[in-house]
C-alpha cells in the first residue's frame, strides 16, 4: 500500500516498551502515565508476578512484574526500568518494563494475528503484532494480562 494511505489510517498511538529484548506495545489510550522506579512494597501471600504496591501520587497502586507475568527470564532493575501505569477495571495498575522506547502512531490495519510469531510469550496474552522497520511490536491484550486467574480459581474452589 502507498505510504499516504497508511498515514491516513493512523488511528492508534502506541506506547512501545522493551522487555527481555523484544518490543511490546499497548494503546496509549489505556496508559495513564509512565514513571521511574519507585520503592515497591512487596505484599506477602500474593502471586510472585505481583511485585507489590507503590505510592503513586497518593494512591496505593499495584505493580505487576511483566517479565514474570509473561513467563520471561528475570532481570535486575536498571536505570531504564519504568513503570507504565495503565487503567484497568477503573483502577490504576503499574507494569514494570525494562525500558520505554517510544510513542508511535500505528493503524489498526497493521495489526496482524499473532500466529506467525515466534516468541517466548504465551499467545493467550497477545492481541497481535505490528511489523515495524526492523523488528516486531507485540501488542499485549491487557485485559488478559491483568486477569487474576489465580484468584478466579481460588474463588471457584471456595464455592465448590
Amino acid at each position: 500500500m502507498a505510504g499516504e494511505e497508511i498515514a491516513l489510517e493512523d488511528d492508534l498511538r502506541l506506547v512501545v516498551f522493551r522487555l527481555a529484548g523484544e518490543m511490546y506495545g499497548v494503546n496509549v489510550a489505556s496508559v495513564e502515565s509512565i514513571g521511574i522506579m519507585a520503592p515497591i512494597t512487596r505484599v506477602p501471600r500474593t502471586p510472585s508476578y505481583i511485585s507489590g504496591i507503590i505510592n503513586l501520587r497518593g494512591r496505593v497502586t499495584p505493580v505487576v512484574d511483566l517479565r514474570r507475568r509473561l513467563g520471561l527470564t528475570e532481570a535486575a532493575y536498571t536505570h531504564d526500568t519504568r513503570i507504565v501505569v495503565v487503567e484497568h477495571n477503573f483502577e490504576q495498575i503499574g507494569l514494570l518494563v525494562d525500558a520505554v522506547t517510544e510513542v508511535r502512531p500505528a493503524s489498526t490495519g497493521e495489526i496482524e494475528p499473532p500466529s506467525a510469531l515466534i516468541t517466548d510469550v504465551g499467545t493467550e496474552y497477545i492481541a497481535g503484532v505490528i511489523k515495524a522497520e526492523n523488528h516486531l511490536i507485540i501488542m499485549l491484550d491487557l485485559a488478559k494480562v491483568l486477569r487474576r486467574e489465580d484468584r478466579d480459581r481460588l474463588k471457584r474452589e471456595r464455592v465448590s
Binding site: 502515565s33 506477602p44 504496591i53 505510592n55 497518593g58 483502577e91
Partner: protein
C-alpha cells in the same frame, strides 16, 4: 413572608450554627436525663444552653424564641433546684419545646414564617412552673440584699484569688470590668451573661457581681462587675464587651491580688447568698469549655474542594519531578539541579502529608450520627406503646464524613424496623416469658478491612414462613416457588422491592420504601447487609462497610524490607527478649512472659521473607486475639503513628492477614496487619 430580623446575614449564619449545636446538646441531654441517675450536671447544661439561646435569639430580634427559651429556663431552674421532679409530662413538654425551637430555627434559615406559635407550650411551661410555686408556697425569692457590700471587691472567693494569682504569674493582668447597661436595655441579665461569655473567649473569668447564679435568675440591675484575667489590652476587651450590645459604658479597675489573698479565711461571709456556694464550679466549667473549643466548623464542600486542590498539587508535583528529570538529562548534575531535586522531593512530601491531613479532617466519629437516634427511638417506642432500652456502643469509631451522611437513612430505617416490627408489646413479651422491656442495640466497630455497624433487637424475630406467605400474597412469588425456598432465602425476601410484612402501616415505617432501599443504599457504598434472626429471640442487621478512609492508631514495625502497621487496639505490650528465652514446644516457638507461655509467630516466616541471622535479642509484639495472647516476632520497632487505611486495591484483592495499606510519612507504602486473620491463618497452617 420574611421574619424581619434585626441581624446581618453573617450574624444569622453564626446564630444558626450555634443554635443547631445548642439544640442538639439539649436534645441529647434531655434524653439522657430520663435514663441517668446523676442529673444535676445535665440539667445545668441544658439550662445554660437554653439561656444562651435566649440571649442570642433576643439579639437577632426573634421574640418568640426568646420567650420560649425563657419559659423553658424557668422550668429548668426549678428542676435543678429540686423544686420540681422530672416527670414524663415535663419531659414531653421540654422535648416539644425543642421541636418548636427547631422549626423556628428552620424558619430563620429560610427567612420564612411558618407560623410556629409557642403560646400553648408557653402556657404548659407556665403551669408546670406555677404548680411548683403553689406546692412550695415560696413564690419568688427576694433579690439578695446588695451582696457587693460585704464580698471582696470583684466578688472573689479564695479559690478565685488563687487562680488570679496563677494568672498573674503567667503574665496576665487581673482586672474588674464595670459594665453599665443602657437604660432602655430590655434584658440586662442576658447582656450580662453575653458579656461574661465574651470575656471567657478572651481569657479567664474569675467572678462577677452579681454572681453567675444571680444573673441566671435575672437579678441584674443597671450594671455588672466582672473580674477576669488575661493579657489582652483594655481597649480590645472593651470592644468585645460593647459588641454584645445595649452597653453604655465599660470601665476597668486593676485588682490587687496580694492584699486580697490575705483576706482568704473570711470566705463564708454571712451575706453571701447560698447560691454562691455553687459558683466556683460554674465559673470553672466556663474556661474549660473555651479550651475544648479548639475546633472550627467547616463546610464539607470546602473540604472536598481542598481535597481536589491537593489532588492537583500532587499531579503538579509529579510534573515537577518529570521536568526535573529532563532538566537533569540536559544540564547534568550541577548544584542547581541538586537543589531543585531536594525542593521537589520536599514539595512531594508536603503535598502527601497535606493530602493525608485533609483526609483525616474528613473523618468523624459515628457518634455524630448516632447521637440523634436515642431521641428517635424514645419517641417511636412511646408512640408504639413499647418499652425499650436503647444501647449504643462504639460511638468513637471513625468513618468518612460522606459515609456518615450516606448511612444515616439506612440506619434510621433499621432502627425503626426494630422498634416497630422487632420488639413486641410489653404484655406480649411478658406472655412469652421475656422481660417487659425490650432491648435495641446499635453498635459500630472496625473489623478487618471494614466497619461493621449492627442493629439488633431481642424481639420476635422474623418467621420465614410468614415471609413466604406474604410474598405469595403480594404476588412476588408463586406458591410453588415459595415452597422451594430455604429459610435463608425466604428471610432474604425482605430485601425484595416493595416488600413489607407490616399488616398495619405505622406512621414511620412500613411505607413500602423498605429494606430494598436500605440494601441498595448500602450496596452503593460497596457495603453489604446481612441479617440474622431467630423466631422469638430477635433480629440482628449487620452492615459491613468499607473503610477506605478509616484511620487507626498503629504500631509500626520492620519486617524484612517492609514496614508493617499493627493496630494498637490489639497490641498488649512489646517485649525485648533474649534469644535463649525462646524455646520450642512441639514445633512451635514459645517464650515465657509474666509466668505465662506465649506462643510466637515469626512474621518473616509468615510473610515469606528470608530468615534473619540469629540475633541475640528478638523484638516481640504481644497481641491479643480472642482473649489469647500471641507474640509476633519482628525485626525492630519503628514507633506509633496514626495511619489512614487504604484498600489494597481491587486488583490485589483480599490478602489473608492484611487489612489494607497506608502511605507512610516518607512516601513509602506500609501494610496494615489484620491481627485476627493473621493469627487465625498462621495457627491453622501450623496445626
Amino acid at each position: 413572608m420574611g421574619l424581619n430580623l434585626n441581624a446581618s446575614p453573617e450574624d444569622l449564619k453564626v446564630f444558626l450554627e450555634e443554635a443547631e449545636e445548642l439544640l442538639q446538646l439539649v436534645e441529647e441531654d434531655l434524653v439522657r436525663l430520663e435514663k441517668e441517675e446523676d442529673t444535676d450536671g445535665l440539667i445545668q447544661e441544658i439550662f445554660r444552653a437554653a439561656h444562651t439561646l435566649k440571649g442570642s435569639s433576643a439579639t437577632i430580634g426573634h421574640q418568640k424564641m426568646a420567650e420560649l427559651t425563657h419559659a423553658m429556663e424557668n422550668v429548668l431552674d426549678k428542676l435543678r433546684k429540686d423544686e420540681l421532679d422530672l416527670t414524663t409530662q415535663t419531659m414531653d413538654v421540654l422535648l416539644e419545646c425543642l421541636d418548636l425551637l427547631r422549626i423556628m430555627k428552620d424558619d430563620i434559615a429560610r427567612d420564612e414564617d411558618s407560623g410556629a406559635d409557642p403560646s400553648s407550650l408557653l402556657a404548659r411551661l407556665k403551669s408546670i412552673a406555677d404548680e411548683v410555686a403553689l406546692v412550695t408556697g415560696a413564690g419568688q425569692t427576694p433579690a439578695p440584699a446588695a451582696p457587693a457590700a460585704t464580698a471582696t471587691p470583684g466578688g472573689l472567693g479564695w479559690q478565685e484569688l488563687a487562680r488570679a494569682a496563677e494568672a498573674v504569674q503567667r503574665g496576665q493582668s487581673v482586672r474588674t470590668a464595670e459594665i453599665v447597661f443602657s437604660e432602655d436595655c430590655p434584658m440586662p441579665a442576658v447582656r450580662a451573661f453575653q458579656a461574661i461569655v465574651a470575656l471567657e473567649q478572651l481569657g479567664e473569668v474569675l467572678g462577677s457581681q452579681p454572681t453567675m447564679d444571680e444573673i441566671e435568675r435575672e437579678h441584674v440591675q443597671g450594671s455588672v462587675a466582672v473580674t477576669f484575667a488575661n493579657a489582652v489590652p483594655d481597649e480590645q476587651v472593651r470592644a468585645a464587651i460593647v459588641a454584645v450590645g445595649d452597653i453604655r459604658a465599660v470601665t476597668f479597675k486593676p485588682v490587687n491580688i496580694e492584699g486580697q489573698a490575705a483576706a482568704k479565711p473570711d470566705a463564708p461571709a454571712s451575706a453571701v447568698p447560698a447560691g454562691d456556694q455553687k459558683r466556683p464550679a460554674d465559673v470553672k466549667s466556663a474556661p474549660a469549655r473555651t479550651t475544648t473549643s479548639h475546633t472550627v466548623r467547616v463546610d464539607v464542600g470546602l473540604l472536598d474542594n481542598l481535597m481536589n486542590l491537593v489532588g492537583e498539587l500532587v499531579i503538579d508535583r509529579t510534573r515537577l519531578a518529570q521536568i526535573l528529570q529532563q532538566f537533569e538529562s540536559k544540564s547534568g548534575n550541577d548544584d542547581l539541579t541538586a537543589e531543585m531535586s531536594r525542593t521537589s522531593v520536599h514539595i512531594g512530601r508536603v503535598s502527601t502529608d497535606l493530602q493525608e491531613e485533609i483526609m483525616k479532617a474528613r473523618m468523624l466519629p459515628v457518634d455524630n450520627l448516632f447521637k440523634k437516634f436515642p431521641r428517635m427511638v424514645r419517641d417511636l417506642s412511646i408512640k408504639a406503646g413499647k418499652d425499650i432500652d436503647f444501647v449504643m456502643t462504639g460511638q468513637e469509631t471513625e468513618l468518612d464524613r460522606s459515609m456518615i451522611e450516606e448511612i444515616s437513612d439506612p440506619l434510621m430505617h433499621l432502627l425503626r424496623n426494630s422498634v416497630d416490627h422487632g420488639i413486641e408489646l410489653p404484655a406480649d413479651r411478658q406472655a412469652a416469658g421475656k422481660p417487659r422491656k425490650g432491648r435495641v442495640v446499635l453498635s459500630a466497630a472496625h473489623e478487618e478491612s471494614h466497619i461493621i455497624i449492627t442493629v439488633s433487637d431481642d424481639g420476635k424475630g422474623i418467621d420465614p414462613e410468614k415471609i413466604k406467605a406474604a410474598a405469595v400474597r403480594k404476588g412476588i412469588l408463586t406458591e410453588e416457588a415459595a415452597r422451594r425456598l430455604s429459610e435463608r432465602e425466604a428471610i432474604d425476601l425482605i430485601f425484595a422491592a416493595g416488600f413489607s410484612t407490616n399488616e398495619k402501616v405505622s406512621e414511620v415505617s412500613g411505607r413500602g420504601v423498605g429494606m430494598d432501599v436500605v440494601r441498595t443504599n448500602i450496596e452503593r457504598l460497596s457495603g453489604a447487609i446481612e441479617i440474622e434472626t431467630a423466631v422469638g429471640k430477635g433480629t440482628t442487621f449487620r452492615l459491613k462497610l468499607p473503610l477506605t478512609l478509616a484511620i487507626i492508631k498503629a504500631l509500626l514495625v520492620n519486617v524484612g524490607e517492609n514496614i508493617y502497621c499493627i493496630p494498637l487496639s490489639s497490641v498488649t505490650e512489646t517485649l525485648h527478649s533474649g534469644r535463649d528465652q525462646v524455646s520450642t514446644v512441639k514445633t512451635r516457638e514459645v517464650t515465657v512472659n509474666r509466668g505465662q507461655v506465649l506462643p510466637l509467630l515469626r512474621l518473616r516466616r509468615l510473610f515469606g521473607e528470608p530468615e534473619a541471622a540469629d540475633e541475640e535479642l528478638v523484638y516481640i509484639v504481644v497481641v491479643t486475639f480472642g482473649g489469647e495472647q500471641v507474640g509476633l516476632v519482628v525485626d525492630s520497632l519503628v514507633g506509633e503513628q496514626e495511619v489512614v487505611i487504604k484498600s489494597l486495591t481491587k486488583f490485589i484483592g483480599d490478602v489473608p492477614g492484611m487489612s489494607g495499606a497506608t502511605i507512610l510519612g516518607d512516601g513509602r507504602v506500609g501494610l496494615i496487619i489484620d491481627v485476627p486473620s493473621l493469627v487465625k491463618t498462621a495457627m491453622a497452617a501450623a496445626d
